[in-house]
């Protein structure tokens, strides 16, 4: 239980609020933790569920991603509308 709350504080950000990079990095970290195989059962299951949510978040971000294009105007960034 203490182990679980510890891992929770480390990975507490809800996946829905994460960027692809954040979610993917944490997913990779979870894989390594779980592959080490030293965790109690309950924590392993919690890690797996977290990983599942992170992978889903990554997939969702990849599916919905749209290139953001901005333009430097002087020192400011403005949206760039490219003629297509």
């Amino acid at each position: 239980m203490t182990a679980k709350s510890k891992s929770k504080s480390k990975t507490g950000v809800p996946p829905a609020e994460m960027t692809f990079e954040q979610a993917f990095e944490e997913l990779e970290a979870l894989v390594e933790q779980l592959e080490a195989g030293q965790l109690p059962l309950e924590e392993s299951l919690a890690l797996f569920e977290r990983g599942q949510a992170l992978a889903a978040r990554c997939g969702q971000l990849l599916d919905s991603a749209e290139l953001k294009v901005k333009q430097l105007v002087g020192e400011k960034l403005e949206d760039f509308e490219a003629e297509t």
């Binding site: 997913l27 779980l34 797996f48 992978a55 971000l61 990849l62 290139l67 953001k68 430097l72 960034l77």
Partner: protein, 435 residues
């Protein structure tokens, strides 16, 4: 070295070859020198032309000439060689460019083009015509630019700006990509199309700039420096194809130095595959075209990322599966251990012993029965040997009264009484006559 000064002197025009004579004769070997002392020698045309050719070719001022003129009578032969004349207002000279040179030629001239050629002077012996053997040919003006380019390149190279040790690797998954290019160019459109398709997670920051003309270098430098403030993961400096003059801003020393000073990895993608600019040598990575530059930064595409996420999740699931099965195995071991200690087993052992005892008891009983049966059989046998049938067989008879009572004594019967006599094979009746 100086074995035959006389004939050489008479054939060499001092105006053409103001070099020390010794420099011009090393390769000359003519058959008719021996006649020199008898007045003008007689030459075959072949020998004459060969000699003149060798004279021309041994003059190294003529072996590396740069000539400006207008192209005329240009013909590209199926063999791949080019033939043309160069002319100015007063004169012309025949030129040939061999296929091996033509193959490296980016620009194909047309009649009337003002060009600058480099090459060597030779003589076409069969016609006795002297000609230029052209090694390279550029539109006029480019020659000077090219020399300027080579000088700057040599200088920056000597400073170490091109050193491979300076080259930084590109980030594998850039999130923020800086583009320095024209906001209106096809290069930008091509790059954005590729990035949209391959790396839609990224953010592109365009630092717009002129990419040709005298204002371009300063603008490119400003754009680079403004981008550097935002610290993107990588910066692409790009421009679509154009003439050497069009691309000239990318050979500017200011641009080269600004590019070298960038705090993040840089890619150049200028012109076409065959174009090399100073920016290409300074950038960490040279891409042959703007599109290629966009592909380099999106080396790990969205599809690759999707596959990486899937693979990571598969590993997670596998790790969990292995963990669970390891726990299950451990649990089973404990269960076996527990079972060994449990009263259930004791009970089962006791029950087993009871069953065994039961079986042994059954065996014992069966044995007793068999013994009894055997004894019985033996008695029957004995009985057979001594019983009534055997006695009758030996000739004895049994006499009974009509009611079945066996006659054992004379006193049992009265004269005239009817009796039954049983012998071994049957019965018959008798009457008592005496007593």
């Amino acid at each position: 070295m100086d074995q035959c000064p006389q004939p050489l002197q008479c054939l060499s025009d001092p105006a053409l070859t103001p070099l020390p004579r010794s420099a011009t004769i090393a390769c000359v070997n003519l058959p008719l020198f021996g006649q020199a002392e008898f007045g003008p020698e007689t030459w075959t045309v072949t020998d004459l032309n060969r000699y003149v050719r060798q004279q021309l070719e041994s003059d190294f001022r003529l072996q590396d000439v740069r000539v400006q003129g207008e192209v005329s009578g240009f013909r590209a032969y199926p063999s791949g060689h080019w033939y043309f004349s160069l002319k100015d207002a007063n004169a012309q000279v025949n030129c040939v460019m061999w296929r091996s040179r033509v193959n490296h030629q980016r620009y194909t001239p047309r009649d009337g083009d003002a060009v600058e050629v480099s090459g060597s002077v030779t003589l076409y012996e069969a016609r006795g015509q002297y000609q230029l053997d052209v090694t390279s040919l550029q539109p006029q003006g480019e020659g000077a630019l090219y020399r300027e380019f080579m000088q700057l390149k040599a200088r920056l190279e000597a400073e170490g700006l091109f050193d491979s040790a300076r080259k930084r690797p590109l980030p594998p998954r850039p999130r923020r990509i800086g583009l320095v290019t024209s906001p209106a160019g096809a290069a930008l459109r091509d790059m954005l199309n590729i990035l949209r398709r391959r790396l839609p997670l990224a953010e592109v920051i365009l630092a717009p700039t002129l990419v040709q003309g005298p204002e371009a270098p300063a603008q490119i430098v400003t754009a680079l420096q403004a981008l550097a403030q935002l610290m993107p993961d990588v910066i692409i400096l790009a421009r679509g194809g154009g003439s050497l003059e069009d691309l000239w801003a990318f050979n500017d020393e200011r641009v080269a130095r600004a590019l070298a000073a960038m705090p993040v990895p840089t890619i150049s993608g200028v012109g076409h595959e065959t174009d090399f600019t100073i920016a290409d040598f300074v950038a960490d990575v040279r891409a042959p075209t703007p599109s290629a530059a966009a592909e380099l930064v999106s080396a790990v595409s969205v599809d690759d990322l999707r596959a990486q996420v899937d693979a990571a999740f598969d590993r997670l699931a596998l790790a969990l599966g292995e963990m669970l099965s390891a726990r299950r195995t451990a649990l089973n071991e404990q269960r076996v251990h527990l079972r060994r200690l449990s009263p259930v087993l004791q009970l089962r052992l006791a029950r087993q012993r009871a069953i065994e005892l039961q079986a042994r008891a059954a065996v014992a009983v069966r044995h007793q029965l068999e013994l009894a049966r055997e004894r019985h059989n033996r008695l029957v046998q004995i009985l057979g040997a001594v019983g009534p049938p055997a006695v009758l067989q030996r000739g004895y008879a049994i006499v009974r009264k009509p009611r079945g009572v066996v006659v054992r004594s004379v006193d049992d019967v009265q004269p005239g009484e009817a009796l039954t006599v049983r012998v071994s094979d049957g019965e018959f009746g008798v009457e008592v006559t005496t007593r």
